[in-house]
Symmetry: C2
Subunit: 231 residues, 2 copies
């Protein structure tokens, strides 16, 4: 893809949809890759990883980089937007090129979605006013202030053409729902079977903060404390 002009080099197609997964330094990888693995399996769909520039973008562990395949200018009007969360969200929600791109994309996008703390980027773009939304459970108390929205403890929640998902792994569930909306129940179920998504967590209920005791909550904050923006 070329940066030679200001014209987008990814042509809008009437027959193929484009999914733009946003990358920024300090994103959480599974937030992005869960929806990617589901949505890339839809027919007639191209997935792009969109960032300031093409090339490696580091996740919040500093131990993994995904390769961005498009810039904001190259994909101004995607069909679907997915914004992952991560330790870098606080920088991302103040990153004007990303916010400008979201405001350009919003009027034409079919679905605007977030996973985990990615919701704060949608909030900063002014897209969530008065809505019910969800996020990673540890950030629920900040939703009202940053998003002018109300936190709801759902796996994911749809409001019009906006879907927000809970933390990290919730993006898989959200994306299967989205696959159904974009295609059919049968295709979404086929994708679920293709990724053999028959989850059997070894610890029943451990993924739900509402069932956790204080010791588990405390240890989880210790786990989360290692995530950061690389630099």
């Amino acid at each position: 893809m070329s940066m030679a002009t200001n014209e987008p080099s990814i042509t809008m197609s009437t027959t193929r949809r484009s999914v733009a997964i946003v990358l920024y330094e300090g994103f959480t990888a599974l937030d992005a890759i869960g929806p990617y693995e589901v949505l890339v399996s839809l027919p007639d769909t191209d997935v792009y990883f969109v960032a300031d520039q093409q090339g490696p973008i580091y996740a919040d562990t500093g131990q993994l980089a995904l390769v961005a395949t498009a810039t904001w200018d190259e994909l101004p009007h995607p069909t679907v937007v997915v914004i992952p969360g991560g330790a870098g969200t606080m920088q991302a929600l103040a990153h004007q090129p990303l916010l400008n791109w979201l405001q350009t994309a919003a009027p034409t996008v079919e679905w605007m979605t977030s996973v985990c703390t990615g919701v704060f980027v949608l909030g900063a773009a002014g897209l969530l006013h008065g809505l019910q939304v969800t996020s990673h459970w540890t950030s629920r108390e900040f939703i009202h202030q940053y998003c002018a929205a109300t936190y709801t403890a759902e796996r994911f929640i749809q409001q019009g053409n906006i879907i927000t998902a809970a933390g990290v792994s919730a993006g898989i569930d959200m994306a299967l729902f989205l696959a159904q909306q974009l295609s059919s129940s049968q295709t979404a179920q086929a994708i679920q079977l293709a990724i053999e998504y028959d989850p059997q967590p070894p610890f029943s209920g451990a993924g739900d903060f509402q069932q956790a005791d204080q010791a588990l909550i405390d240890e989880t904050y210790t786990v989360l404390s290692k995530y950061r923006v690389k630099g």
Copy 2:
């Protein structure tokens, strides 16, 4: 990391464990990223993406690349090996540098694991003789011939220090079990809560091939047919 000598440039540590996630052209991203997101959250743990050379390695959709951070020579004795599956498995299982590396690692590794069709690489390295193993459900009929092992329809199965997981998303469940083995139940549960893994698939049972009717099986093969090795 330097390639200036044949000495491994990642020093074996007595206090930190290393997790080597194998990359090859045509791997399935969620196979790798599910275990990554769980295992990178363990204390005192470094995760490396290991391949023929450092740099971008394309997944089986051709629409995503992960950045390899170490070569075989640089990490000869990891604590944990994770081999993802994908459309590129058939090339990977015949790739001698990878097989040599596995045979070097096997005597010293604490855990040798695979997700999805990654099991065939372990089989090609001669590590599964006579074991019960699992894989992506679509490849179950090939396990006996390629791995000299017996397919079992489990989410994941442990045999000694070898754990094999079913397709794609099963790597998350396997990695949480492995996190418990490497650390404690409390830490593994904290990781599960950190990634908010409280799965709620929109289609109950659709991820289990044993519950699927022929129309769903057929459509799933159509979904899977788009995966390939880039090139």
